[in-house]
Amino acid sequence: MNANQDELTLLRKVRDDVAEPSTTAVNAGRAALLEAAGPTVARSAKRHRGLKRAGWTTLGVVGAAAIAATLVLTNVVGLAGWRGGADAAAADSLGRAAAATIRTSDPVVGPGQFLKITTTAVYTVDGEHGTYLQSENGEMYIPANRDDDWVWVRPPSEVVQTFGSESSKQAANDHKTPVATEVVRAAKGAFYNGRPMDFGLDALPRDPQQLLNYIYRTTAGAGVSPDGEALVFIADTLRTGVVPADLRAALYQALAGIPGVEITDNQATLDGRTGVAFGRDESNGLRQEIVIDPTTGQLIGEREVVLRVGVLPHVPAGTVSGSTSVSTSIVDSAPAGGTLCGALGHPAGKPGGGQCQTDN
C-alpha cells in the first residue's frame, strides 16, 4: 500500500461513491414514518397492523405502508417485460413450476406445532492468505401463533472445502477458536431485539410483471448487472423458506421475465435433492442459480457457480462457491432455551429498541 495511505484513509474511500437514496425511497420512508406517527394510531391498533403485515423479509422489502404508498405509481411502468425475458425452455419450465406451486397448498401448522425451516448454506470466505468455503446452517422454528416465541438455532460455521495449502492454513487459523451454537429466541421473530422478522412480504405485488418492476426498482444500482441483481433478489427472498405459495409462484414467473435466464443444469443436486437450475452468467465470472423441482414447484435452494479460473484464487471453474438448501417441515416442539440477542449479548435499552450489547 502507498505509504501516504494509512488504512483508515483508504477505508474512508471505499464505497465512497454510493448513490443517494432515490426520491421514491425517501418519500416512502417518510410516508411510513408519518403513518406510524399518525394521531389515530393507538398502541393496540399498531400491534394489529403489524400482524396483518405478517410475512418475511431479509432483503429489499420495505415496510408495507411504504410499499402501499408507492406501489400504484411505480410498479406498472419499469424494466420488466419490454426487453424480452428468459429463454423459451426456462420460461416454459418456470411457468409449469408456478402453476404447480399454486395447486399445492402450504403446510398447515396446527396449534402448538411449529414450522421448522432447515437451512444448509455454504459461502466463500476470502481470507488474507487463502479462500475457502464455510458452512452457515440454521434451524428456525416458527410457532403456529406468530405472536409467540420463534426460536433460531445457529450452529457455528465449519470449514467445508479448502483449495490448496494456503487455503487450508487460512481456514484452520480462522476456525481455531471454538464457537458455541447460538440460540436466539424472540416473540414474533423480533430477533436481536429488533423489529419482527415477518414484515412486508404480503405487501409485495402478486402480478409477476409488477413484482419484477418492483424488484428492478429496489435493486437499482446494485450488483454486477440489473438482471443479475434481480435474480439475486429472487434467490435471497426464496431461500428464507417461508415465502407463501402465491408469492413463490409470482417470483418464479418474475424469474421467467429476466433476460438471459436459462436452464443451466437439468439435474442440479443440492443437499441430496435434485431439480432444475435456472441461472444467468454474469461478467464477473459467477452465476447465480435457483434450483426448483419443476413438477411440484417446490424450491430446493439456490447456488452460485464459479464460471472461470481466476475469479476466486485457486478455485477451479465449476466450483459451487455458495449455496443454500432449504427444507421445511412441521414439528411438535421447538428447542428450549435461547435469548433475545443470542451471541450478540443482551438487549440494551427498551424491548424492541433495536439494541443488543455485550459486556466486553
Binding site: 477505508l11 471505499v14 420512508g29 423489529r195 444500482g221 464477473n284 435499552g349 433495536g354
Partner: protein, 203 residues
C-alpha cells in the same frame, strides 16, 4: 435551528414533528447502510426511523445530536443482513478491478498509486469481512459514520474504553492486512503519524 433532542422532545406531543429528524438524517443513515449492505439500505433507512420513533421516549435528551443513537439502531438492524454484507465485501475482494478503480479514482493520482490502492482495498475488505462483528461495527461507525469515540460508544451503548479497545483491535488487523508493521502498538502508531482524524478521547 432546533437541536435533535428538541425535535424529539416536541415529537412526544406532536408525533409528526419526528419527520423533521428524518429529513435531517435519513440520507446519512442511508449512506452508511448502503456502504455496508448495498440495495437493502432503503429498508434500513425506513426501519431505523420507525424504530427510533417507537423508542423516542428512551432517547437521552441531554445529548443534543441524535446521530449516534440513529446509527446505533441502524447498526443493530444491519445484523439481520449478515449475508448481504458478506456478499458486498466479497464483491470488493473479488469484483472487477474497474469497479475498485472507480472507488479511488479522482482521489489518487497516478497509475501505480491507483493499483496500490486497489490492492489495498482488496486486503482491507478481506480483513473487515473476517473481523468479529463487534469490532467491525465500531470500525465502520468510526470510519463511515464519522462518529468520534464517544459517538461510537453512544451508538453501541458501550463504554468509551471498550470502543477504544475494539478500534485498536480492528485497526491492528487492517494494518496486518495491508502489510504494515503488525507489531506496532496503537499508541505508537497514533503518535508517529500525527493523525489528523484521531478522535477526541475524553470521558
Amino acid at each position: 435551528m432546533s437541536t435533535d433532542s428538541e425535535i424529539i422532545r416536541r415529537s412526544r406531543d406532536s408525533p409528526a414533528a419526528f419527520a423533521e429528524l428524518y429529513d435531517r438524517h435519513a440520507a446519512v443513515i442511508h449512506r452508511y447502510a448502503s456502504r455496508r449492505i448495498g440495495e437493502a439500505a432503503d429498508d434500513i433507512m425506513s426501519e431505523t426511523f420507525l424504530v427510533a420513533f417507537e423508542r423516542r421516549a428512551a432517547f437521552d435528551e441531554s445529548v443534543a445530536d441524535a446521530r449516534p443513537w440513529l446509527y446505533g439502531i441502524a447498526t443493530t438492524l444491519l445484523k439481520k443482513h449478515r449475508r448481504q454484507e458478506a456478499r458486498a465485501w466479497r464483491g470488493l475482494i473479488a469484483g472487477g478491478a474497474a469497479e475498485q478503480a472507480d472507488v479511488v479514482q479522482g482521489s489518487i493520482d497516478g497509475h501505480d498509486d491507483r493499483l496500490d490502492a486497489e490492492l489495498g482495498i482488496r486486503r482491507l475488505a478481506a480483513a473487515i469481512r473476517r473481523m468479529p462483528a463487534r469490532d467491525r461495527d465500531a470500525l465502520l461507525l468510526y470510519a463511515w459514520g464519522d462518529l468520534d469515540y464517544e459517538g461510537v460508544a453512544l451508538a453501541l451503548d458501550v463504554p468509551v474504553g471498550t470502543v477504544r479497545s475494539r478500534l485498536n483491535r480492528a485497526r491492528r488487523q487492517l494494518r496486518q492486512a495491508s502489510g504494515r508493521d503488525a507489531s506496532a502498538e496503537e499508541v505508537e502508531h497514533e503518535r508517529e503519524s500525527g493523525r489528523a482524524d484521531a478522535a477526541p478521547q475524553g470521558a
